[in-house]
């Protein structure tokens, strides 16, 4: 019997309902992960339209293959794995490595640059705090944008999504040692870029 609300239902159980063909279960999975997946992809490609296309492609691929999901793994890990694969493939095709916080490097018009610029939300802070937070957040975003895409994925999965090293290695399909090295180097580079934050 499917629940009226999926609030307290685990990902695995929602997936089972989706496998039964329930549209509300599909929508619940999208609702739970559209923002984390979009954010990860956006921070890697730094272009709103591209990130949305890639996020859409990720969900379509995952949800069309929902029957292949193995419940012994976390659904989110599987989803991030597909998102990372799709994004890395895109970056390899486009050769986008570093871009500006002010907008995507291929933004030819001001409107396009604004559309691709990072917009950060503030939550319940004073205007000064909000401004400082925004400046800080933008500094972090700028610093992340300077990292290699492989480093970006690892550092975001580690520090934003709270994944363990093993889970990250599984998601990005790299050896555990490589993941640890990437995260170590990413931290070093972030420290260099954000020296005055200390």
């Amino acid at each position: 019997m499917p629940p009226k609300s999926y609030t307290d239902v685990s990902d695995q159980q929602v997936v089972v309902f989706a496998q039964e063909g329930r549209e509300d279960a599909y929508r619940e999975l999208i609702k739970r992960y559209e923002r984390p997946v979009f954010s990860l992809i956006y921070r890697m490609v730094r272009d709103t339209e591209t990130a949305e296309d890639l996020a859409q492609e990720t969900f379509i691929k995952v949800l069309n293959n929902i029957d292949r999901y193995r419940p012994e793994f976390k659904f989110s890990s599987w989803l991030f794995k597909i998102a990372n694969n799709i994004t890395i493939d895109h970056l390899r095709r486009r050769q986008i490595d570093t871009i500006s916080i002010e907008g995507a490097p291929d933004a030819l018009t001001g409107e396009r640059a604004r559309a691709t610029a990072v917009t950060l939300a503030s939550g319940g802070e004073s205007p000064l705090e909000a401004m400082e937070s925004r400046e800080l957040g933008e500094s972090i975003e700028k610093a992340i944008a300077k990292l290699r895409p492989e480093y970006r994925a690892c550092i975001i999965l580690r520090h934003v999504e709270d994944y363990s090293y093993d889970e990250i290695a599984e998601i990005v399909k790299l050896p555990l040692g490589t993941v640890k090295t990437y995260i170590h180097r990413a931290r070093q580079e972030l420290r260099e870029y954000l020296g005055d934050l200390k």
Binding site: E23, E52, L63, N64, V118, G137, V160, D162, L190, R191
Partner: protein, 171 residues
């Protein structure tokens, strides 16, 4: 909260990373994804045949093209091509020689005329008595020869057919 596995000087950066906000895709993102899920939209999984303005017949919900009218030239061409194909296939697969078949048909048609002509010529040359003697029992002889010929040809055709079937199976 992840375990503290980084140096102290990275702590403020780690804290800022954790405070990074989630970004949202545009409105209607979920609808766009849902519209591309095959299980929920069977019509997107099976792309429909684009309907043609002139189509009138429908089978199983899909439009099918009506049979086109054939002109006389097209009919003759199709008939010639069909007969040719049948003849070639017969020759290749059953071993029937087209020339043999045509000659056999001609012999069948003109054998009676040839027989009458031969009898008249024989009577003129050999005389009617000699011809009457030769023609006595001729019908039985013809039947005997026909049976022998049919047996020979039938046996030969049977062997050829069996050989070609064996060849095809081996291939």
């Amino acid at each position: 909260m992840i375990e503290h596995d980084f140096p102290e000087d990275f702590t403020p950066i780690a804290a800022e990373l954790q405070r990074l906000p989630y970004l949202s895709p545009s409105r209607g993102f979920a609808d766009r994804v849902i519209s591309r899920i095959d299980r929920l939209n069977p019509q997107t999984a099976l792309a429909p045949v684009p309907a043609h303005a002139g189509l009138e017949l429908h089978q199983g919900g899909q439009a099918v093209a009506p049979r086109r009218r054939m002109g006389p030239v097209r009919v003759v061409g199709t008939a010639v091509a069909g007969v040719g194909l049948v003849a070639v296939a017969s020759f290749l697969f059953v071993g029937i020689d087209i020339l043999t078949a045509v000659l056999a048909a001609a012999v069948g048609q003109y054998s009676l005329v040839a027989a009458a002509f031969a009898a008249e010529t024989g009577a003129l040359v050999l005389g009617s008595e000699a011809m009457a003697y030769m023609q006595a029992g001729a019908l039985e002889a013809v039947l005997l020869y026909l049976t022998l010929a049919l047996g020979l040809f039938g046996g030969y055709a049977g062997i050829r057919t069996a050989a070609s079937i064996a060849k095809r199976k081996a291939a």
